[in-house]
Symmetry: C2
Subunit: 345 residues, 2 copies
């Protein structure tokens, strides 16, 4: 065949000249594989939480309508990118073919891998949806996907099940960024600490702040507080609604001795939680937005509107060694691993 663009722009159908992620439509023609592409037989999709929630609500929680919606999106766009949230997710599957230019990757047909780039830029063809696991945002399929030369992936580890590895790798950016961001002695607030990324971030933050730091988790449901308390994932857990910033602020400040936080990490998957992330942060502190429901303008104008000189970071799903850091958490913390196995597998 021939070499494609390292970033996959050779598969963009419209509009021309953009990269696959912002493109409205990309080619999912699997009959032509470029020399720097990897073809994968996909067995399951892990849909991004914000995306799945939106689809689920639009479909009135009806599985047949969720299935139809997913097929319609992939049919139209050539990729599983939610048109409302813009987000994707990841896949797992078996390598079917490695392009000749990527022969030095140490990857061969039959290897089980998980994609670590978003479905929002990944050429995907669904032959059939086999089963939808709405509780864990997972969709079993028969289909194929393409990884570009720049596309990240991880070989699935031998010491845990596929499902468990996938559940963790899905949000691998979050704990790995927390590991790099959080320093000893800091106070850290985690919005949405009861979710998958929230728990991984909380565990990592607890390790990093050490004995003199303070990690507060926020959850929406009282039952999530109980889980976090039992697992010891935070110093304190506050039940509060992050979409109501005034009440939220007083609740989370109380949990930190009335002081604002050094670092706030947003892992909530609903809209309008920007102000609840910004207000509790101290001047010159850091707000890390992992939530894909974050609105850029609401964050930018919101901080200015309340005079907060905080560094607001766009959550990057990739950072060096993110897969290893995340899988290591599950190896290190048997309780967390057990919870992940019970809840997300």
């Amino acid at each position: 065949m021939a070499m494609g663009c390292k970033y996959g722009s050779h598969r963009v159908l419209e509009p021309r000249g953009v990269l696959p992620q912002p493109a409205a439509k990309i080619s999912n023609d699997m009959s032509t594989i470029y020399d720097n592409e990897i073809l994968v037989d996909v067995t399951a999709l892990n849909i991004d939480s914000a995306s799945f929630t939106q689809i689920e609500e639009e479909a009135g929680h009806d599985l047949a309508r969720i299935e139809a919606k997913i097929l319609a999106i992939v049919g139209e766009k050539g990729k599983m990118q939610n048109p409302v949230t813009g987000s994707g997710g990841m896949f797992i599957g078996q390598v079917a073919k490695v392009g000749s230019a990527l022969a030095d990757r140490g990857l061969k047909a039959g290897d089980k891998i998980a994609s670590l780039v978003s479905l929002s830029l990944t050429p995907l063809k669904i032959e059939k949806i086999l089963k939808i696991h709405a509780d864990i945002d997972r969709v079993e399929i028969k289909g194929q996907a393409i990884l570009f030369e720049s596309g990240l992936y991880a070989k699935l580890p031998e010491d845990m099940t596929e499902s468990l590895a996938l559940a963790a790798l899905d949000v691998a950016g979050a704990p790995a960024q927390a590991a790099k961001l959080v320093k000893p002695g800091q106070s850290v607030l985690i919005l949405g600490a009861g979710g998958k990324s929230g728990m991984l971030v909380a565990y990592e933050a607890m390790k990093r702040v050490g004995p003199t730091g303070h990690v507060v988790g926020n959850v929406y449901l009282a039952e999530d507080k109980q889980t976090l308390d039992e697992l010891g994932l935070c110093h304190e857990v506050v039940v509060a609604d992050a979409t109501r910033p005034v009440d939220f602020l007083s609740a989370v400040l109380q949990a930190n001795g009335g002081r604002e936080y050094d670092i706030v990490v947003n892992c909530v998957n609903v809209q309008n939680t920007e102000m609840s992330s910004i207000l509790p942060c101290r001047q010159e502190g850091t707000v890390y937005f992992f939530s894909m429901a974050t609105h850029f303008g609401k964050a930018a104008l919101g901080a200015e509107g309340v005079g907060k000189d905080v560094t607001m970071i766009v959550g990057n799903g990739y950072t060096k060694d993110h897969a290893e850091i995340t899988l290591w958490e599950l190896r290190e913390n048997p309780k967390l691993r057990r919870l992940f196995e019970e809840r997300y597998v």
Copy 2:
């Protein structure tokens, strides 16, 4: 009187529990001033450009109808927030009363100030509209406004006209953030370097990188390259379309000796320039998004999609001393000041 909420939620009338900006109606009762509020006699409103254009069109460019529309909005909402665009603007006026809890601000009755928080969250009462300057979106009024404890403002400088100061203060966040971000010896790429914020950022970046750094400005129009070259605002200026990342990348890398940049600052005001900001940035470099046209998801997933471990920051319109840093640039650089006077006053 009593202390109000630092962020002004005590003046929110409906819906309860939100902050003044998203509120539908806030109290503009000026007979009751809280101890942590500042009352200002307002002389002029600078209506946000998107808002003024919408009102102007709805009113068929009829000044009497524009006046009626503005009075109706403020009468209904207690603030000048355009119900269609959601945006506000800023005001200038003279301080009438400083609440007792803010006595340490160094502010006294009679001081001329410009608000640096949006009119979309500022309690405002208009007694009379004196004159509408439709060409510069300015409305002279007799009225009063409230600044909350967290509300930002700047004393208007003595050494420049109100209009010049306003033109610069409008984008004050950008150059001040650049001043804090850019270090000696770094390479810096500025997308949209020909615009108001882009020029201020470029000038600041040139100062900060020193003799061993390299500042490259990107513009869309060849005439802007000429202006930047004449003013010496960058080491090099590249004419390229930031919405076409593949071509863009090769053009800007060439201007930096083939190397990726330490810092990329996005000041472009069109959509779909996220990837042109991310791709030219080196691993572990920083991308600062000032453009309000930035899409959170496109940035987050875009970086992950191309395996870029870059820190992406949401441009914050406020940072400590931002007004002073920005006005100082105009004092320091007479050529830049002259251009601002010609172009934006």
